[in-house]
């Protein structure tokens, strides 16, 4: 019996000349790009995590599931609160506008807040269930994959996603509808791909210290975010920096401090 083929037609608005947001038409449905990319990102990164954690180098560091489930819970709650709180701090005028609308608080998420909040949640949970080993190394490549795919959705959403850059005359500027701007979402995807390759090469050849890969990823990504935020039209209301930049600096300092603490251990 011949294999049945499912034809899925994806129609972009008009080739490279896109109208943002670029809605995707699949199987008769008109899908918002951010929704689709976010769901694909969650699914792909979770599938990759399930495969990566089976590798012996990560499996050795994984505590029993009776402890690990609390760590997962801590990560989820931390990521939820972190991503929300930093989004509120990033643009307080959007979320705490007068008259106050509680529904506004639900919208908006930030990756930096999610990462730092998730990390904090994991550390709190590990302290409660007395897990001493590092558990983040297996999450690095799934996180990179999920973030890169998610950024595709941010790019296709355009101006309403608030992740675009400032206006530019550079030839690769993208017109989201109000003139060419830095495609900071694409810069981030390019960085993540290069960073993943670099980390992969380093991880396979260098010393595989427990927790080192996760800290290298977090500090590298946060430094990138600190730099690229200068290309975004976000409100720099905290001593000339945005909330995401301050959080990035704080997170990088925490990473370096914890790395130094590990080195100084006998």
């Amino acid at each position: 019996m011949p294999a049945r083929r499912l034809a899925v037609w994806v129609n972009f608005s008009s080739g490279l000349l896109m109208d943002f947001p670029v809605y995707l038409e699949m199987l008769g449905l008109r899908l918002h790009p951010h929704l689709l990319a976010e769901l694909v990102a969650y699914s792909l990164s979770f599938q990759l995590y399930l495969r990566v954690r089976r590798l012996s180098v990560f499996r050795e560091a994984t505590p029993p599931f009776e402890q690990m489930m609390w760590v997962i819970m801590g990560a989820m709650f931390g990521a939820m609160f972190g991503s929300k709180i930093l989004a509120w701090l990033e643009a307080p005028q959007d979320f705490f506008a007068v008259p106050f609308q509680p529904r506004r608080l639900i919208g908006g998420k930030t990756i930096v807040g999610g990462l730092l909040g998730g990390w904090a949640g994991v550390e709190i949970a590990k302290w409660f269930v007395r897990v001493r080993t590092s558990t983040g190394d297996a999450c690095v490549f799934p996180l990179i994959l999920g973030m890169a795919v998610g950024r595709v959705g941010c790019f296709l959403t355009g101006l309403s996603d608030h992740t675009h850059g400032v206006h530019t005359r550079l030839p690769w500027g993208v017109d989201f509808g109000d003139g060419p701007r830095h495609p900071t979402q694409l810069y981030e995807i390019a960085f993540l791909v290069a960073f993943a390759l670099g980390l992969g090469v380093w991880f396979t050849h260098a010393h595989r210290a427990n927790g080192l890969l996760f800290r290298a990823f977090i500090s590298g990504y946060l430094l990138f975010r600190f730099a690229v935020e200068f290309l975004k039209p976000s409100e720099k209301i905290y001593a000339g920096c945005s909330a995401i930049q301050l959080a990035s600096l704080a997170g990088t300092w925490l990473c370096l401090w914890s790395l130094y603490g590990r080195r100084s251990q006998p």
């Binding site: 008109r30 969650y42 489930m69 609390w70 639900i106």
Partner: protein
């Protein structure tokens, strides 16, 4: 006669999926639109059930899974709701 085996992994992830589907049906079905208090009530019910189950060793993984499904549902289900609202508007 087979002795039932206790699998924390299976119980945990099954509970996460059940909790997620519960939220998807609740919010997707429009029940949250009937009264704003229902949103809190639905989350409180899931959290309460999860915390209660955590007191019993064999149900602990199920309880932890139900509690973990709260932030997962908040992040995924609300994204879907916002996307639908954006399309409809």
């Amino acid at each position: 006669m087979t002795v039932p085996t206790y699998s924390a992994v299976k119980n945990f992830w099954t509970a996460v999926i059940i909790g997620f589907v519960y939220s998807a049906v609740f919010y997707g079905g429009g029940a949250a639109g009937l009264h704003p208090g229902l949103v809190i009530a639905a989350v409180a019910l899931k959290l309460g059930a999860g915390i209660y189950m955590c007191f019993f060793r064999e149900w602990r993984a199920v309880g932890a899974g139900l509690i973990t499904s709260v932030p997962i549902a908040v992040m995924i289900v609300l994204t879907i709701c916002f996307a639908i609202a954006a399309v409809l508007s």
